[in-house]
Amino acid sequence: MNKRRDFIGMALGGGAALGAAASLVAMKRTWDPLPNVVSAGFTTVDISSLQEGEMMTVEWRKKPVYILRMAKNDADAQNFLGKRNFQIGDAIYTIGIQVCTHLGCIPGYDANKKEFLCACHGGRFNSSGINAPGTPPPKPMTIPPFKILEDGKKILLGEAGEEYNQLSDKE
């Protein structure tokens, strides 16, 4: 008699546990980003008008992305070539998500000092987006996946191309 009653209790407990686990999965999935959010992650940028030493900021996945055509007198242009900077013709470009790696504010670029400065907590990055030691940001700004189109006139953000794959500082 008891064994049969134990079975009923265990069946109830097991069923309830399965139901709870399934509910948790459903709740977790409900909070996931929607498919249209995930798929809307591609932006094409025209960089043909960018002058030397000039920076442009575009929006990609609701985040600002900077594209900087580095100045000839910027030593960091050569220093981090292949690491964080890439070449199109004889111009050197660098690209990154313009979000401070400390707490997610947006650092501004100072063209004279050739550095990014974050107003929130004083974080600094050099022109290649590498965090200055002794300031709050723990790591360089993230490089988004990109692909170069039309012989270097345009850049597609969101898809990993050859130049992106060759960079050594992609995290």
Binding site: K28, W31, D32, P33, L34, V37, G41, T57, E59, R61, K62, K63, P64, H102, L103, G104, C105, I106, A119, C120, H121, G122, P136, P137, P138
Partner: protein, 409 residues
Amino acid sequence: MAEIKKANGLIDWLDQRLAVRSLTKVLMTEYWIPKNINFLWAMGVLLLVLFSMLFISGLFLLMYYKPDVNLAFDSVNYTIMTEVAYGWLWRNIHAVSASMVFLIIYIHMFVGIYYGSYKQGREMIWITGMLLFVLFSAEAFSGYMLPWGQMSYWAAVVITNLFGGIPFIGPDIVEWIRGDYSVADATLTRFFMLHVCLLPVLIMAVIAIHFYSLRIPHVNNAEGEKLDFEAEAQKYLEGKKKESKVIPFWPAFLSKDIFVIFVFLALFFYLACFNFNFALDPINFDPANNLKTPAHIYPEWYFLWSYEVLRGFFFSSSFGLAMFGLANVIFFILPFLDRSPVVAPAHKRPAFFAWFAVLLIDMIVLTIYGKLPPEGINVWIGCIASSVFIALFIILPLITKNEKAGGNQ
């Protein structure tokens, strides 16, 4: 089935069916409070009044608020503030209550610490109270997002980014909490749900548990005196009211509390009607812009102390994050860090009094420097004050362990 007789009135009719007379005794007229307390013991009832005002003003705001990134800002700043009759009043009451509720919570907490009302059987009162503090913090943060101004948006960015500090799964957690690559409509709507439904329900449930946790150990008193509540209640019921050390919750205790409530409400409505700007950040009157960060991001005043702990350890943001997490939960284990069996006001416990004073001053310093930009000397003061805060909880067991029992009992 109980024997139901013909009732001799409405109360009797209800009493036969719902036992309202016994219920009133248990909850009100025979719930005993020590006589030996001062106005600082009125803060709990004050918090109940403030929570009620938040709830009611929230209901009226909810009728016109629109949880959508394109509509939220104007629904608050245009519709509610300029078109809805008395909408401005509901909003000011809601904003000022939100600020004041934290002021009173902090007073309520420090009264508990000062008089040792968190130990010797009263641990659950303290722990459920801390749980309420955490729930109120979540409620405040989720509500702060809703007007969708610049500070709403960037506070949401910074706070959700904190989860990125979790090892390995951090970045995925951040995206999951936001429901998008950045703070967006999905984030607003889910925090709206938390603010207007889930968290208020949890808060009400924990308030009930917090009240219940008082029943067995009873309210502490200004001397930390151990009372035999049954014996003292017996004296009161026999008519020796002068001799007894306790009074009933209703009408005796609450009558004086109601006086305190009215004094407070006078101040409160002065603030809500003539001086409400302290509770509304000017930056939040700019609509949210995800491509432009305000020059300084800081939380409301009541979170500044823990914000300063977060950024105080400037040499390592991971360490700062860990200490921030610790600072927010360390108060939970206060009853177990205080190793002394003595329940007495702090001025009768010299070492503990010094500890209490340093804690209070340190939290005020952290609050001041949490608002200042992290430049020059501020960085070092913030670092020292954050270190002192953490150190205080490490040394508390050591300074209370050797405290002599008795002497003041």
